[in-house]
């Protein structure tokens, strides 16, 4: 087990190295110019050239890459060209927002997806199965931004049950300490603000969670069906065990494995979905920041924010894999 973990950890290094090359290429292949991005409507060729020189963009590409590599190896993730803020500061400021949002989305997806999947499996090919299938498919076939904006119109604009966007009502004046809004409101000792922060989480979590919800539902359904055909389940039934007990003790216990794997796989999809969800919900997270940075050609932010983002994705996957290996000793990793 330890050897497996060590090998997986070592495997991360070439991936990160490759990633740094891909990201560097990505940014330098983008059309446009950070200097123009900075100057906006006031860009002229001369001024642009001056700024390119200032930023070192006039050097040969390989030199720029080596400089970039040595910077990140020294832990220097640079700063934004647009607002001059350090990428690391900004990442730490925004990452908690993305974590809060993705965790909430995951809770929504799993909390609703598993019961729905079990319901569908229990009534396979019956109407509940059909209904669950259609609902879950609706989730995957509506683009996040359409779903998000529509949810805003229904629940915030028309019904006024929930706030439309943002992480908290700024009028409440909560001081950012950890940048985890739920924590900060508690630290400030304001339960009402905590509730407000929770309310702000609901709509973006549903919008972001809709795709994983569909997938978790379908996987649960499939896994339960798979297991239900196994001999030991038939045996259990034959023994005259109550259906409920068969479900809990025999089916779910074994169906968990594929379900947890898929939940782990969803993290990557959630981070990608967060890119658009955060923009639509004015959510101060990493995703909205990266989209902004790409559109503003804020190249160091693009490179390094995605690198940090990917690093976290890789670590999460690693933990899932290791957990999986731990839970399922039958699987040999070669």
């Amino acid at each position: 087990m330890l050897r497996y973990i060590a090998r997986r950890l070592l495997g991360v290094i070439p991936v990160l190295f490759g990633l740094s090359i891909v990201l560097f290429a990505f940014v330098h292949l983008l059309p446009g110019d950070p200097a123009v991005a900075l100057l906006g409507q006031h860009a002229t060729p001369e001024r642009t050239a001056a700024i390119r020189e200032l930023l070192g963009l006039d050097k040969p590409l390989h030199e720029q890459y080596l400089l970039y590599l040595s910077d990140i190896l020294r832990g220097d993730f640079g700063k934004s060209v647009i607002d001059n803020r350090l990428v690391v500061d900004e990442f730490l400021l925004r990452f908690p927002g993305t974590v809060e949002l993705t965790v909430a989305a995951l809770i929504f997806a799993v909390g609703i997806g598993i019961p729905l999947g079990r319901l569908a499996a229990r009534h396979v090919q019956g109407w509940p199965d059909g209904a669950v299938t259609v609902v879950s498919l609706l989730g995957v076939s509506i683009p996040i931004f359409v779903l998000g904006l529509t949810l805003q119109v229904i629940f915030a604009v028309k019904l006024k049950w929930l706030p439309a966007s943002g992480r908290i009502d700024p009028r409440l004046g909560i001081d950012a300490v950890t940048n985890f809004m739920l924590l900060d409101t508690l630290l400030a000792g304001k339960p009402a603000a905590f509730v407000d922060a929770l309310k702000h989480l609901v709509l973006p979590a549903i919008a972001l969670g809709s795709i994983p919800l569909a997938i978790v539902t379908r996987i649960t359904r499939a896994a339960v069906l798979d297991v239900a055909n196994e001999d030991y389940v038939r045996t259990a039934r034959a023994k005259g065990l109550k259906e409920r007990r068969v479900d809990d003790r025999h089916i779910m216990r074994n169906a968990w494995l594929p379900v947890t794997t898929v939940i782990g796989l969803q993290v990557g999809g959630l981070l990608a979905g967060a890119v658009i969800t955060e923009t639509v919900f004015a959510w101060n997270g990493v995703g909205a920041w990266v989209v902004d940075a790409i559109q503003n050609h804020d190249y160091l932010v693009v490179q390094n924010a995605i690198l940090l983002f990917a690093l976290i994705f890789i670590v999460v996957n690693l933990v899932v894999d290791i957990g999986y290996a731990y839970l399922n000793p039958r699987i040999r990793y070669s």
Binding site: L30, T133, R218, D226, P258, F313
Partner: protein, 296 residues
């Protein structure tokens, strides 16, 4: 994603022709799959017959006729340029289905090649290719697509390529995974022990069995491809000619009119949802009928 459950489940060795015929028979008996077929059939017909059915030119409109709600004259209303939305949905089927199919086929070719090489050859090739796949998978798909479209310039083909590239690493990993699992399975060991050659083993025994999860995943990817195009459009990376009738772009453009013209969200949204449901049901049906253990 549901491919995860079907991956790495070897089908006992038997003549593959029989397997496929069996599968087809089961597919035709699968009710949801037939519904899926039906939905997709509608849109394929719409795409083929668009010039016959469409009441108006999908590209011509007058600004004074814009944003009209559905009426007898325009059953789905008019869009922000005053064009008939129904005609655009019909013609949009051509573009959107094409986007879905081409991007998935491209993705299959790219991912399939990588996966087959990695799983078929193994060893160092496998390690290197899978590291590349890891790198690609570590970048959120939408960002990868943004990069490709931004790099190759905007255009329908570039968009299809971008969507393909986000799918390719998933296909690659899936194919490689099932190839590896199959290599260890009894029937392959048996085939190897009776002296089957490597290429024969790969093409005759491994690939046909390993393709199953890939086909299923591809069907599901067809549905998401159209949505991915909409997402790119939301970020300003849609097809360059704004006159192109394409569901994703039509949907994206109308979010600006969420408060004035809900029909412009509803109809393209409905078209996308129905086709997505169609492809998904078909994918499910395929999965179930290709998996003999689920035979009922």
């Amino acid at each position: 994603m549901s491919a995860v459950t079907v991956a790495a489940r070897p089908v006992p060795a038997r003549a593959s022709r029989g397997l496929w015929r069996d599968a087809l028979r089961r597919l035709l008996r699968n009710r949801p799959a037939l519904v899926g077929f039906f939905f997709i059939g509608i849109f394929v017909l719409a795409a083929l017959l668009a010039p016959v059915i469409a009441p108006y030119d999908p590209l011509a409109g007058r600004l004074v006729d814009r944003l009209k709600p559905p009426s007898a004259e325009h059953i789905m209303g008019t869009d922000l340029q005053g064009r008939d939305e129904f005609s655009r949905i019909l013609y949009g089927a051509r573009v959107s289905l094409q986007v879905g199919v081409v991007s998935v086929v491209l993705g299959l070719l790219m991912g399939g090649t990588i996966g087959a090489l990695a799983g078929g050859i193994g060893g160092r090739v496998d390690t290197i290719l899978m590291r590349v796949v890891d790198v690609l998978l570590a970048i959120p798909g939408i960002l990868l697509a943004i990069g490709i479209v931004a790099w190759l310039d905007r255009g329908l083909f570039q968009i299809m390529l971008a969507v393909a590239a986000t799918n390719a690493p998933i296909f690659a990993r899936l194919l490689r995974g099932s190839l590896l699992a199959l290599r260890e399975s009894d029937f392959v060991i048996a085939a190897r022990s009776i002296g089957a050659s490597s290429p024969r083993l790969l093409f005759r025994h491994l690939l046909p069995n390993a393709l199953t999860p890939l086909i299923v995943q591809a069907t599901l990817a067809l549905a998401t491809a159209i949505i991915d195009v909409a997402g790119l459009g939301f970020l300003g990376l849609g097809p360059p000619d704004p006159r192109t009738a394409e569901w994703g772009t039509m949907l994206t453009d109308s979010t600006k009119f969420l408060h004035q013209a809900q029909h412009l969200i509803f109809f393209p949204g409905l078209a996308i949802v129905i086709s997505a449901i169609g492809f998904n049901l078909l994918g499910d049906g395929l999965r179930e009928s290709l998996d003999p253990r689920l035979r009922r």
